[in-house]
Amino acid sequence: MKEPSENSDLNKKFENFAYPVDDTNWDAISMRIPSGKGVGFLGEKFSTYTVSPSAGVWRGIEASLQPGARRRIAAWWWYGAAAAVFLFGYLAFMQIDTPENQMQIVHKETETSMESKSGVGTAMPDSGSIAPKNNNTESNSASAEAITITSTVSKASTNKTENEKGPIKSESSHPGNIAQTDHITWVAEDVRDFPNTEKESFAGNISKMSGGTDRIILRQIAGVFPGLHLPIHTAELAGEMSTLHPMIELADNKKQKSSPFYDGTETSSVNQVSILAGSQLAFAGNGEMDMAESSYSGISTSLNPSEGLGLSNSSIPVSVNYSTPVYYGVNGEIKFWKRFSGGLGLGYLHMQTTANFRYALQSEVRETESKYLSIPVYIKFNFVDKPKYTAYGTAGNSIDFLIWQKTTETYSDGQNTEIRSVNNDVKGNQANIYAGIGTSFKFTNHIGIFAEGSLMQYYSITGTNFYSQKTLWPGMRFGVLVSF
């Protein structure tokens, strides 16, 4: 066994030896310790303290980021909107450009006036070809076509020259449209050849002009439209109209009657004013708020931020539930041109979200309830336009003005629950563009119902707003319409 050395005793002597140091030594040491990392005596208390900023902060930051990045996102919406408008316009054009629609449109709106000086010869078809055309024009009873001619148009003259056509003026067609000029001339002569009884039927449309000539306004003329492509280029060919018109109408009738929308009535053509009172429901659902968006799959596939970077104490909402936004309103609508209508509304919009937050020691449920005064402006195109039934596409813009908001925060740590209302995160006004397809049905001439599916894209006009977290909403509108 080894004997303890003599030094062991010496070590025992110094075992409890302490050398006093003053604060200057510590100051020198502490200056070398990295500081400012939340290591103060209250640092730990605030290490888990989090506050959710309003959505407006990100917008401010976003504005200072490289504009290219933001534009890439925004540009898609513009491209999409442009494509939708183009598609809508194309479909509308195709719808209008069909012969049957041209006939209807011509009858509705186009007003062509023609003035001819006394003694000027015009091209006329022979009398034999006029009679069946007369029948044809009568069939278009809903026409709103108006043509003004003098009552002193000369008798038929088949010798047509450019000079002869000179005095004839058509307001609704481009110059040199021979087909139209011929047709007008033909109709003018047609009237002159009416039997007395039929002429009397136009009595209400004949007025005395200041120049001593009679003005005849015909409201039953078809085909005076540049886009109609009637194959009439000369006076001789004009006679073919006698057979062409009935053929077109037969085809129209056949097509119309075979349509599933045919209800035994002609296409609605009168301008009308409607009031639509109804409600709109946007389809609610679960979502992630702005703070928890995880659309960037390349960074994190988890919706739960606590799983992404180990931030178990984050206040990022774990889930957000949107209650169904409800809109009640009244719209005034006027059919202003052909199948197009425009509308302006006033409504009340109620929206609500419930966001769940999870902290280290407690959970929070934040309910935000907002009420808006909503003003929609829109246009509508009836691609099926019957007196009792319409099917339409619509697009517009709506601005929602915030009139009231309440935010309630409920904290719970499993044992205690604390409820409080806060006003520090007031949402702003908001706006949306929307497009939809809908249908309406009238029970009587004045009362009907409508339903419409729509898609709303919200955008911010005053910083933060309710929809800043979820911008694209499908929805449905329905209600009652009253027409005058």
């Binding site: 500081s35 640092g43 407006g56 902060v57 990045a69």
Partner: protein, 182 residues
């Protein structure tokens, strides 16, 4: 994807990565900003300026240390910069007698909830609040605070002492009101 990948995407100017970074850290940073502000609006201003700086200088983050800590330092510096730029926020050196004020004890402060303490901190004058934050929460030394704020070490100490005294007064006042209510 981990933090490094997120940072790399931000360095490349990836918009979604920038937004993701904000979503992950904004609440935490807002908590920091709130301590240097008297209201939410001021805190959000600091937060916004701070994040803009973060995006501008994120390429200088080396990956050493937590990203959250690096971002927090930027937020604090942003708050202090606003403090320095505001001429109405100059600190006033207290008398030496202030060092003997009746200060609130560490125990009392430690037992208070963060929300409660935050509410009281926001009532402090900005100079007191800033020094208290830097010393008691961030863990800076007085000489560091003095350097950051451009004041003397003595002023920093007196501001801290005074802030603790005010906190004590607030707590006592609150206790009195509670007793009266009972």
């Amino acid at each position: 994807m981990d933090e490094n990948a997120l940072v790399e995407a931000c360095v490349e100017g990836n918009y979604r990565a920038q937004k993701r970074l904000y979503q992950l850290y904004a609440p935490q940073m807002m908590g920091v900003c709130m301590r240097y502000s008297s209201c939410v609006a001021d805190a959000e201003d600091i937060l916004q300026d701070g994040f803009i700086k973060i995006y501008q200088h994120i390429d200088s983050y080396t990956g050493q240390g937590a990203l959250g800590g690096w971002m927090r330092r930027i937020m604090i510096n942003t708050a202090l910069q606003r403090f320095r730029e505001n001429k109405n926020m100059q600190l006033v050196r207290m008398d030496d007698t202030d060092l003997h004020l009746r200060e609130v004890s560490d125990d009392v402060l430690s037992k208070m909830a963060a929300d409660e303490l935050m509410a009281k901190l926001q009532q402090l004058p900005i100079g007191f609040r800033t020094v208290f934050n830097l010393y008691a929460i961030e863990g800076f030394k007085h000489h560091e605070i003095a350097s950051q704020l451009g004041i003397s070490v003595g002023t920093s100490k007196s501001q801290y002492s005074r802030s603790r005294a005010i906190l004590r007064e607030m707590i006592e006042e609150e206790n009195k009101l509670s007793e009266r209510a009972i």
